[in-house]
């Protein structure tokens, strides 16, 4: 189940986001990490340190690209220059799949740099799916779309968010980056049962899972990626793994970033659930064997 056509038939374990405060630790200590996720847009530059760092990371680790600005739900055509640069980066990283969000964020050439929620309409699903297919055809690798946290709902919505997600991925024939923290945040903000969402996700399309922390305010929850994962989110994660099988999992920690060890330790808690249903002998020895296998696989 976890190795499927939406994640390039890979079997990645638990990864963390590659973040600047950890660069030195990674280069000095060379920790064993199953894989790193990079924010694609941070590396869409012509040269300099970002690409140099990335190349050093690629010598030792598997990297998966995660985007924040493709805006697959935009009513207007995708930015061709953006796609062209993404494709160059795809060739550089050898990412086996690429993810971005099921959202929009730009209009008439103006960018909000936010992950704005979609109206859950058939028309929006059709347009989004068309954009995803175009991007997938151009980039020539599988795309997984991530469900976002949201704080607002539109009057025009005709279905639930999970029905919309299903509609889009079926029409686009693409994968899903299932963010269980985002499901939790949205469930609290919009008063739905997160397990209803989770149970409706087509498990066979889940390429990857995101876990993260968030911030609680008086009247809503904000997806801030600046805390450890809370128990209710781990419960959702356990359910997701039960439905999907052991799936490539990534901890997002983007603000108030603690030490590398702390972030990695938090991420590795996912192993409690990832292989909970398997016998000890069947559990992959992630830390002992993954690295050498990786380097060979990438080449």
């Amino acid at each position: 189940m976890p190795a499927n056509r939406f994640n390039g038939f890979t079997d990645y374990g638990v990864g963390i986001g590659l973040r600047v405060p950890h660069y030195q630790h990674i280069f000095d200590k060379k920790p064993v990490v199953d894989w790193f996720e990079i924010i694609s847009e941070n590396y869409l530059v012509d040269g300099g340190r970002p690409l140099h760092v990335l190349d050093q990371i690629l010598e030792r680790y598997r990297v998966v690209q995660h985007g924040v600005a493709l805006y697959l739900g935009s009513a207007q055509p995708l930015n061709r220059e953006h796609l062209r640069k993404l494709k160059q980066l795809v060739r550089r990283t050898g990412t086996r799949w690429l993810s971005d969000h099921l959202c929009w964020g730009s209009v008439d050439g103006r960018y909000t740099h936010d992950l704005l929620p979609m109206p859950y309409t058939l028309e929006a699903a059709r347009i989004t799916a068309q954009n995803i297919r175009q991007a997938q055809d151009f980039l020539e690798i599988p795309i997984a779309v991530e469900n976002v946290s949201s704080y607002a709902e539109y009057h025009v919505s005709e279905m639930t968010e999970w029905e919309f997600l299903n509609e889009v991925v079926e029409r686009a024939d693409c994968g899903i980056l299932l963010d269980v923290n985002n499901i939790y945040v949205s469930s609290r903000n919009h008063s739905f049962d997160p397990f209803d969402y989770l149970n409706s996700v087509p498990a066979e399309r889940v390429a990857q899972i995101h876990i993260a922390g968030h911030s609680k305010f008086e009247k809503y929850i904000l997806d801030t990626h600046d805390h450890p994962v809370i128990d209710p989110v781990w419960k959702l994660y356990a359910r997701a793994i039960a439905r999907c099988g052991p799936t490539a999992t990534l901890l997002e920690w983007d603000d108030n970033i603690p030490s590398f060890e702390e972030v990695h330790r938090e991420a590795l808690k996912a192993n409690r659930y990832l292989y909970a249903g398997q016998t000890a002998s069947a559990t992959p020895q992630l830390h002992a064997t993954k690295q050498p296998a990786l380097a060979g696989a990438r080449r």
């Binding site: 941070n42 009513a75 209009v107 936010d114």
Partner: protein, 302 residues
């Protein structure tokens, strides 16, 4: 393209990108003078805890916090020169006039120097100083991320002649400034090691008290090359002739024409000119600043 979806996205984007009030809340009235409460209610649902406007406000605030934070990181020198209140006014006006037109936040400040040039009142009375600082900080960002091409080998350098056209390294940025803002940034502890890939930001730790002190210095015209070595950005002062020569080469002049331009107003004697040319070319070679021009596509010669 869907007109319904596009219309909704235009309305939402417009609402999200509208300026906040001084107390960082969503304005009561939109740009069209209509009630924002009513506008939000037309396309957003309330829930049991939040009105439609309050839900919109979450996005409205996040938009400005994100963009302002980015500008704050990229232009700490401008903020130090102007002070926080004036910097906030400047950023608010700039971001309203020049919203992001790129998929990357790296490019958010690209239009700031030019925009500041045409809106001098917002930076008065330190208009020129603030402008020079913005130009330097933007050049720093560009130098940090620009490409690096294979430089001339010593043998190829030796074979250059008057008709040769060369290319200046893409990461070299040339600035003629009225204030020694390079010193200001250095006083602020601008260490290239602090620059990071995610924010593309200038160094976080700034010492505004020392900036104030240096900012009170008299103007001093300088010529500066902002360039990169070993993935770090450096500032190198240039003499006037060197600056003109490099600028001419950057604009595609032949070596002969560039040398002529460089020394057109120079008071240096011929022997000293020759010595200076030799010295700067040796320095540029060490720094790898000169590269062969790209070969033209053979089909374009037809």
């Amino acid at each position: 393209m869907s007109t319904n979806l596009l219309d909704l996205q235009r309305r939402m984007a417009s609402a999200v990108m509208q300026p906040l009030t001084r107390s960082l809340t969503t304005r009561r009235l939109g740009d069209d003078g209509q009630s924002n409460t009513r506008a939000a209610e037309q396309f957003l649902k309330p829930n049991s805890r939040l009105t439609a406007l309050e839900r919109l406000q979450i996005y409205n605030q996040q938009y400005w916090y994100r963009l302002f934070g980015c500008m704050e990181e990229d232009f700490p020198g401008v903020q130090a020169v102007l002070g926080r209140a004036a910097f906030e006014r400047l950023m608010r006006a700039y971001l309203e006039a020049c919203p992001s037109a790129s998929y990357s936040l790296h490019n958010l400040g690209a239009r700031l120097p030019e925009w500041m040039r045409t809106h001098p009142k917002l930076t008065a009375p330190r208009t020129r100083l603030a402008l020079d600082m913005a130009r330097l900080e933007w050049a720093h960002i560009e130098a940090f991320n620009a490409a690096e091409l294979p430089a001339f080998t010593p043998q190829a350098m030796a074979a250059l002649h008057a008709d040769t056209r060369v290319r200046v390294q893409p990461h070299v940025r040339l600035l003629q400034l009225a204030y020694p803002v390079d010193e200001l940034l250095l006083h602020m502890g601008n260490d290239a090691d602090d620059h990071c890939a995610t924010s593309n930001s200038a160094a976080a730790a700034r010492k505004s008290h020392s900036v104030r002190r240096v900012a009170n210095q008299r103007p001093q015209r300088i010529h500066l090359a902002v360039h990169r070595q070993q993935f770090q950005v450096y500032y190198k002062r240039l003499v006037a002739e060197e600056f003109v020569l490099l600028t001419a080469l950057h604009h595609g002049e032949s070596l002969g024409a560039a040398l002529e331009a460089a020394f057109a107003k120079s008071r240096l004697s011929e022997p000293r000119r020759a010595a200076q040319v030799q010295a700067v070319f040796q320095t540029w070679m060490k720094l790898g600043w000169l590269c062969p021009q790209e070969k033209k596509n053979s089909r374009s010669k037809r």
